[in-house]
Amino acid sequence: MTVIHQHEDMLTVDGVSARLGGREVLHDVRFSIKPGEFVGLIGSNGAGKTTLLRVILGLLAPASGQVRTAGAVGYVPQKIELDPEMPLRARDLVGLGLDGQRFGFPLPSRSRRKRVDEMLSAVGAEHIGNARVGNLSGGEQQRILIAHALISRPGLLLLDEPLANLDIASEQEVVALLGRIAQEQQIAVLISAHDMNPLLPVMDRIVYMADGRAASGPTEEVIRGEVLSRLYGRHVDVIRVHDRVLVVAGRDDGLAIPLEPHPIDPVADSA
């Protein structure tokens, strides 16, 4: 068992730049995450969130800079496309999180079964353990994927837009679940989202991305007009209404447009 010191960073992203098809999609991104920290990776579509996650996971080599992780990394992909008929139960997918890379069939063992059961109840999915994954709702699939990623006890959990395609109730449940896991198990969480608002109650720090650049720090320090204006390279206002944060850019014609889609605005939300 590796002892992780409280001050050791679980993840260090050090000056990472990345190119896709000749275009620079990440530019000198740097931040670090400590054990048990809940960090939101926020930005609109195309800001570079998914690319950054792929670099951290080692699926894409950075053009420059480096990524250091301490301990195992759990990963929750945005969504999985599974035929409802595919014969794979939720508990099978969670079990594959334990030993999916091994050869042969999983031998039936009491301890393996117990761990899968514990993990299912940890994400509140004990009642759907025997259902086919392809038959589950989006929120239920997210829970199972989170259990799949957590069962190998990683020190860092990466989630790619887990809240996309979820209704508001499931969204709140998943956020609360992740916040609890980060706190109770001291797992560092890096979660990408295009809207920061659902994450505000649990988020310790934020990595805000625009055009492949990132600003990071405590949420209240980063989500300020001057910081984001520097990041976007044009004037941006931060507006707080009813506990919600809106990042709004001024337009040439004098109208203001929100830079992040959020549930109040159905047109932007469908983007």
């Binding site: 990394v73 595919m86 794979l88 999916g100 890379q101 050869f103 042969g104 069939f105 259902a131 086919r132």
Partner: protein
């Protein structure tokens, strides 16, 4: 059904070979077919079967067993399909379609030569529709070896293949070489298809690859059990097909027997329809409510 009791069924040498060879092939097809269906590679399996016609018909010209030709061409085609991008769905269908077209073109030429040089149409029937009662007994060790290789691949790679059929990213993150495991799985499919091309014919071989697996996944939600059920269903339809075909020597119109492949494929279809129509056709829902 008089065949079982009539003298001959259990003492006939061709029946022994048909039951043994057909049985081996059935089990291999059932097991490998489970992954073909789960990984959404039915079309690739179908194309490999079509392309194996090329090798089978070429073997006739060379005077060797069609099994060598079936296996040779379908493995080669699997290699080509893997090289030209079988992993992306769109590239996969295009690559498969192009290789398949070229293979069938050659098959047309070879079958034409087969029939002109040997002046019989027997070669065409044997290649396309199989002939379980005329399998050379000496091929059984080869069948067993090919079958072992195919089943070995999917058994050893069971978990990596299962995980990469859920999500390639999840598999890559766990350090699974998805390119290699995918190529090996395709090789297993090619071997399974060439084996069933020998018994029930090249163009019917996917029926045995896909049918039992598609039936089995309606019976259980557990991936391991699907493999077991699929193998059992495949074995049952094959043996029942051999029995019915033997019995059909007493049937009209000619009293010369109906082909085994007809019975096997028909039984596969009946099994599938029964599983679809069965009241428990929502096993997932039942499992969910009962959990």
């Amino acid at each position: 059904m008089s065949a079982v009791f009539a003298p001959g069924f259990f003492t006939s040498a061709p029946v022994h070979v048909a039951l043994l060879a057909g049985g081996l092939v059935a089990v291999v097809s059932g097991i490998v077919g489970t992954f073909t269906v789960m990984r959404g590679q039915s079309y690739a399996g179908h194309a490999l079967a079509d392309i194996s016609v090329t090798g089978g018909s070429g073997s006739f010209l060379l005077g060797i067993s069609p099994l060598w030709g079936f296996a040779g061409t379908s493995l080669a085609a699997a290699g080509v399909m893997d090289m030209i991008g079988i992993r992306r769905p769109r590239g996969r269908d295009l690559a498969t379609g192009i290789v398949r077209g070229a293979g069938l073109g050659l098959a047309a030429l070879f079958l034409y030569w087969d029939t002109t040089f040997t002046s019989t149409s027997g070669a065409t029937i044997t290649i396309l529709f199989g002939s379980m009662f005329t399998i050379d007994k000496s091929l059984i060790p080869v069948i067993a070896l090919f079958g072992l290789a195919a089943v070995g691949i999917v058994a050893v790679l069971y978990r990596p293949l299962l995980l990469s059929s859920v999500s390639t990213d999840l598999a890559v993150v766990r350090g699974i070489p998805v390119r290699l495991t995918g190529a090996l799985c395709l090789a297993a499919i090619a071997l399974a298809v060439s084996l069933s091309a020998l018994t029930i014919g090249a163009i019917l071989s996917t029926a045995l690859l896909i049918g039992p697996a598609a039936t089995a996944l309606r019976l259980t939600s557990r991936p391991g059990l699907v493999m077991l059920w699929s193998a059992l269903i495949s074995l049952a339809v094959t043996w029942l097909g051999v029995l019915l075909s033997y019995d059909s020597y007493y049937w009209p119109p000619e009293r010369r027997g109906w082909p085994v492949s007809f019975f096997v494929v028909t039984l596969v279809l009946i099994g599938y329809l029964l599983a679809r129509l069965a009241p428990s056709s929502g096993p997932a829902r039942v499992a969910r409510a009962g959990a």
